[in-house]
C-alpha cells in the first residue's frame, strides 16, 4: 500500500499532464475553444426546453434549470465513462513501450471530463440567476452529489476500462446502455407520475438519478433525502471497489490484448 502511494506521488505530474492533454485536445482547432464547454450545454438546454417545455405545454418557468441540472451531470457521466472505456486502447502505443501505472489512463479520462463539467456549471449559475432561482443554505448540499458523481463515474470507468480491453463490442453496448440510463434519469421530464405508478424502482434503482435528484434538491433549496443519499453513496463506493479490484487483477493481461 505504501509503495502504491509512493508510486502515485511519483506519477502525479504525469496524471496532471494527461488531464491537461485531454482538455487541450478536446477543443483544439475549434474557434471557441474551451468556451464550447459553456455554449454546448446552453444550446442543448434551449433545444430540450423548447421540445419538452414549449411543445409539451409545460409552463413552469424554471424548467430550463431543471433540465440543465440533469443534463450536466448525465453528460459528465456519459463522457467520462465513454472516455475511460477506450482509454487503455487509445494509449496502446504508450502502454506497449513504457512502464506507466495503467490506472492513470482511465483516471485521467474521468478527471479531464470532470474539469470540463465543473467549468460548465457556470452556465447553470447564470441560467438559474436569470430565471430567478437564488441560492439558499441548501446549496451547500450540492457538494455531496458533485463528489458522488465523480466517484460513481470513476468506479464505472474502471470496470468498463478493464472489460473494454477484452471485448471491443462493449463500446457499442455501452452506448445503448447509456441511452437507457439517460431515459431513467428524468432529465427532461418530471418524475412524479412514474414515481406514483409502481414503477418507481426504475428511477430509484438508478444511482445517477439519485445523484441528480440530490443535486436538484440542493439547487432548488430542498433538503436531501436520506434513503437516496445512502443508496447512491453505497452504490458509488461499491463500483469503485469492484472497479479497482478487477482492474488490478487484470491489468497485467492488458498488453496481450491491445
Amino acid at each position: 500500500m505504501k509503495k502504491q502511494i509512493e508510486n502515485f506521488m511519483r506519477y502525479q505530474f504525469l496524471l496532471g499532464e494527461l488531464v491537461k492533454k485531454g482538455i487541450k485536445l478536446k477543443y483544439r482547432r475549434s474557434y471557441l475553444g474551451i468556451i464550447w464547454s459553456l455554449v454546448e450545454p446552453l444550446l442543448e438546454m434551449i433545444v430540450l426546453a423548447i421540445v419538452f417545455g414549449t411543445l409539451f405545454e409545460n409552463d413552469d418557468k424554471t424548467f430550463p434549470v431543471y433540465i440543465l441540472t440533469g443534463r450536466l451531470l448525465y453528460s459528465f457521466f456519459s463522457q467520462g465513462t465513454k472516455a475511460s472505456l477506450t482509454s487503455i486502447r487509445r494509449n496502446a502505443s504508450m502502454i506497449k513501450k513504457v512502464y506507466v501505472p495503467k490506472y492513470l489512463y482511465p483516471l485521467s479520462s474521468v478527471l479531464f471530463n470532470y474539469v470540463i463539467f465543473l467549468i460548465s456549471l457556470i452556465v447553470l449559475v447564470a441560467v438559474a440567476l436569470v430565471l430567478g432561482i437564488y441560492p439558499t443554505v441548501y446549496l451547500v448540499e450540492a457538494i455531496v452529489p458533485l463528489l458522488l458523481v465523480l466517484i460513481l463515474t470513476f468506479g464505472c470507468g474502471m470496470i468498463l476500462a478493464t472489460l473494454g480491453v477484452f471485448f471491443r463490442d462493449l463500446e457499442y453496448l455501452w452506448n445503448v446502455a447509456l441511452m437507457l440510463v439517460m431515459y431513467t434519469c428524468a432529465i427532461f421530464y418530471y418524475p412524479d407520475r412514474l414515481l406514483d405508478s409502481g414503477f418507481d424502482w426504475i428511477l430509484k434503482g438508478n444511482p445517477l438519478y439519485c445523484i441528480i435528484s440530490m443535486f436538484r434538491n440542493a439547487v432548488f433549496g430542498r433538503p436531501l433525502e436520506m434513503t437516496t443519499l445512502i443508496y447512491a453513496t453505497v452504490f458509488s463506493f461499491a463500483t469503485v471497489i469492484v472497479g479497482l479490484f478487477i482492474f488490478h487483477r487484470q491489468q497485467d493481461k492488458f498488453i496481450l490484448h491491445i
Binding site: F13, E17, K24, V98, Y99
Partner: protein
C-alpha cells in the same frame, strides 16, 4: 567489480496465442463452449537468470524471434513476467522505441513535458532541462509546430534528446543508434559514449556482432527463448559465430 544493479531471476514469459485473437463477446463464448481457450501457449522466454553489475555493458545476441525484445520489455517493466522476478536498482532509461509517448496533435514543446512525464521525470527537472533538450534535438523553431508535421527523423531526434537527458543507472538500447542523419548520429553516439563513461549499466540489442563487440564487455545468446550462453564478450562471440555458421 561494483555492486549489483540488475538481477533477473528465473524469468519466464508465456504468451497465449489464441486468446490474443479473441476480442468480441461472440467469439469469446464460442471459444469457451468449444473449449478452445488457453490453447497455443508460446514461451517467449524460459528460465532466464543473470545479473549485471554497475558499469557492465551487456550485448544481447540472437536471431529474429529469439526473445530479445521481449526480454528488454520485461526488464523495462512493460511486460510482467509470467514467473520469476526482476530486481532493478536505480533509474531505467528505455530507449526502446523513441517517442512512444508522443502525441501527434501536440507541439514539440508540449511533447517534451508529456514524454518527460511518461518517463517519470519531475516537472521542475524537465523545466530546467528544457533548453538543453531543444538544443540537442536541433529542432529550432519547429519546436512549436504540432508533431504530426514533423519528419520521422525529427521525431526520433526529439525522442532521443528527451530520453537521454536524465542520467540513468540502467540504459536499454534496442538498435536506436541509427537515429537521424549522419550529423545527428555522430552526436547521439557521442552522448551514449559519455553515458558509458559514467559507468552506466547498458543492455544492448543488435544483430551486428561487430557493434556488440565494439560496445559491450559481456554478452548473452538467446535462442527460442532460452539462454544459450552468458559471459565475457569474446567467449560468447566465438560461440555465436559458430552457431551462425552451423545454420
Amino acid at each position: 567489480m561494483g555492486k549489483e544493479v540488475l538481477k533477473v531471476d528465473n524469468v519466464s514469459m508465456k504468451f497465449n496465442l489464441s486468446s490474443e485473437k479473441v476480442d468480441s463477446v461472440k467469439e469469446y463464448f464460442i471459444k469457451l463452449l468449444k473449449r478452445e481457450m488457453e490453447y497455443d501457449e508460446f514461451w517467449a522466454l524460459q528460465n532466464i537468470s543473470f545479473s549485471l553489475e554497475k558499469g557492465d555493458r551487456l550485448g544481447i545476441l540472437g536471431l529474429n524471434g529469439a526473445g530479445k525484445s521481449t526480454l528488454l520489455k520485461v526488464i523495462a517493466g512493460v511486460f510482467k513476467p509470467t514467473t520469476g522476478t526482476i530486481t532493478r536498482k536505480g533509474k531505467i532509461a528505455p530507449l526502446l522505441e523513441l517517442g512512444a509517448g508522443f502525441d501527434m496533435q501536440y507541439t514539440g514543446a508540449e511533447n517534451i513535458y508529456l514524454y518527460g512525464a511518461v518517463l517519470g521525470y519531475r516537472k521542475d527537472f524537465i523545466r530546467s532541462k528544457y533548453d538543453e533538450i531543444v538544443a540537442f534535438s536541433d529542432l529550432g523553431k519547429f519546436i512549436n509546430v504540432p508533431l504530426k508535421n514533423y519528419s520521422s527523423g525529427m521525431r526520433s531526434r526529439l525522442g532521443f534528446a528527451i530520453a537521454t537527458i536524465m542520467e540513468p543507472e540502467i540504459l536499454i538500447l534496442d538498435e536506436v543508434l541509427s537515429v537521424g542523419d549522419a550529423k545527428f548520429r555522430k552526436k547521439s553516439e557521442k552522448k551514449i559514449k559519455d553515458m558509458f563513461d559514467k559507468e552506466v549499466t547498458v543492455l544492448f540489442v543488435s544483430h551486428s556482432l561487430e557493434q556488440v563487440k565494439r560496445l559491450c564487455n559481456k554478452a548473452m545468446i538467446l535462442d527460442h527463448g532460452q539462454m544459450k550462453a552468458f559471459g565475457d564478450i569474446d567467449e560468447v562471440a566465438e560461440i555465436y559465430q559458430k552457431m551462425i555458421e552451423e545454420q
